[in-house]
């Protein structure tokens, strides 16, 4: 791996250079919540001063730029008994993602495995993923963050360059030749031993700040053992089945396909819409049978897929510990609490 250090002011030059010729997405402040706390979102930015480099966590993940909530997969023109299908993989121009945390980069790496690495690679996703120039940035653990437990607190690959604040300067990991070439156009320096030490100190400091954690020891087996546990029922009673967790999740990729027909019946669009396994009709088959009619069975399946099924298939969890679902849940259901209660066979908050 190639490292560089830059003066802090040089980051503005990098941004200006990139944004002059490309669409740039970055973290920006998008308002305050009810208690006056700053909320962030990933939006298109043109002005470096708007980029919130020290953002805590965006309410929604970066998912919408890779897996849009609504996407037209194909269109049809129809004429009596015949029709023509036109497939469009929606390949847009390359874009810059300026400032993504390690958890979100790791989330994309997990999605890559299912959406690009399996038997039927998905061009809709691949087109966006392969054309995203991703600049990662270090972060401060938030109260709900448990990425360290999931092994996703550092990103090993899946980005072009990664910026870490080492006090007076930025330390940069370079992973692509595109990034290398862009960095040649600004003033950079070779890191010296003191920079390495600062970098390591930053990492160690971050590790001490995690408040939430999940014990993943033997978790796949425990989820099998506790499949019939009463605990699921209790969480199910709390769950509203609204699907908010999947909406904010950086790795929830399931979808539903619907056809929209024009009013004169001569055209139709095949539309992919992100869905949630917590919604009631997720597993309804023709004839009306629902394989998971109860809220608790759907909630359990969500955990089962993230922490059991995906681990079996890819040897790592689909959950990256970003904590967004716990933050967004209207019923205050958080992953660390659910997993802890399943491990103990009882709900921990005494309800």
């Amino acid at each position: 791996m190639i490292f560089r250090v830059i003066e802090k002011a040089e980051l503005r030059s990098l941004f200006t250079m990139l944004s002059a010729a490309n669409r740039v997405i970055g973290p920006v402040g998008v308002g305050l919540d009810r208690s006056g706390r700053q909320l962030y979102g990933f939006e298109e930015v043109h002005d470096f001063d708007r980029v919130a480099l020290d953002y805590t966590m965006t309410s929604l993940s970066a998912k919408k730029y890779f897996l849009p909530y609504r996407e037209i997969m194909a269109t049809f023109t129809m004429d009596n008994k015949d029709w023509q299908k036109r497939i469009d993989y929606n390949i847009d121009a390359p874009f810059v993602f300026f400032g993504m945390h390690a958890c979100d980069i790791n989330a994309l790496n997990r999605l890559d495995k299912v959406l690009m690495g399996s038997v039927y690679p998905m061009p809709y996703y691949a087109a966006k993923r392969k054309n995203a120039f991703i600049i990662g940035i270090g972060c401060e653990p938030q109260p709900n963050c448990f990425c360290r437990s999931m092994g996703t607190d550092t990103a090993l690959h899946g980005f072009d360059m990664f910026i870490t604040d080492i006090g007076d300067r930025y330390f940069i990991e370079i992973q692509s030749d595109t990034a290398f070439n862009f960095l040649k156009k600004i003033r950079t320096g070779e890191p010296v031993e003191a920079d390495h030490l600062s970098f390591m100190k930053t990492g160690a400091g971050k590790n001490e700040k995690f408040a939430a954690s999940v014990d993943t020891t033997d978790l796949t087996k425990i989820l099998d053992m506790e499949f019939q546990s009463e605990v699921w029922k209790q969480w199910g009673d709390k769950c509203l089945g609204c699907g908010t967790c999947a909406n904010v999740c950086p790795t929830c990729y399931c979808y539903s396909v619907e056809e929209e027909v024009s009013i004169d019946l001569t055209a139709a669009a095949k539309v992919k819409k992100l869905y949630s396994c917590n919604l009631i009709d997720f597993a309804v088959v023709a004839g009306g049978h629902n394989f998971r009619p109860e809220r608790h069975s759907r909630l359990k399946y969500r955990y089962y897929h993230k922490h059991r099924g995906f681990v079996e298939a890819y040897e790592e969890s689909l959950c990256v510990g970003c904590g967004r679902c716990g933050e967004a849940c209207l019923a205050d259901i958080t992953v660390p609490e659910v997993i802890a209660s399943v491990r103990e066979g009882r709900k921990t908050d005494g309800q």
């Binding site: 490309n22 049809f76 998905m122 054309n131 979808y255 396909v257 619907e258 394989f291 099924g309 298939a313």
Partner: protein, 299 residues
Amino acid sequence: MDNKLPFNDVIDQRHHRRSDLSSFEYTHKAEITSIHKLTEQENLYRIQIIDPAERERFEFRPGQFLMLELPGIGDAPFSISSPPSRKGDVELCIRKVGGLTSFLSRVERGTHVGIRGPFGTSFPMEKMYGQNIMLIAGGLGLAPLRTPISYVQENRSRFNNVDIIYGTKDPLQLLFTYQYDMWRADDMRLSIIVEKPDASWQGRTGMITRVIEEIFEERDDAFFRNTYAIVCGPPIMFKFVCSMLNQKDLPMQKMFVSLERRMHCGMGKCCRCNVGSTYTCLSGPVFDYWTVMNLKEAI
């Protein structure tokens, strides 16, 4: 100075080790060439891929499914009911039960539909050479079972004893009645049982497990050691049937079942068909019973 990012054309980046990126969502255009009413609820549709070269390339194995696409209506998975040797000239036995299938029951011959696939796992027919086969179907389960039956028919000398065991609610629901004599003529023993007989019914009455008990009485243990079973039907039925067969020391890995789930893609992307820790469309629909036993809430 050009600061534009380089463009990656993903479509040209062929995944040479696996399937091709640019085949995603590819639909074969096909024509419904005949519609044959089997019962009040089920029709048999013969659907032919229009392009002769595509039709020839559409190779599938017994147990696989395809996604049938009706533009403006949607797409849904169906087991293929025709012999693999007929390739892209397939037959689908479809019950009128939801929106898409109700629409399908009203279309006319000559309508153009779309076919994606074939998808999913299949029954390992070659492994069964030289062995006895029990083909067990309940209700609409005969639709997916008709493909292995025709495979056995076409390669009859490669298999030992062949038993087809078929049970339905009542005689009116029996599918493919016009084929029974042909199956028998090909030295496949067909045992039919109905739960609720009508006045004209002369055959067996009861649950499908009764027929299996009869076979248990007639065959010795050695028979079951050299037997494969293919079981299609409602989950409750194959649960009973498979545990009965397992008592006779028929290994669970020699029993195959086909699962049914909702699907929106058929390619392991939409998650709708997840069962236990896996997907029905990629790891299934054909599973051996040992795998099914290890999948949570599969049956």
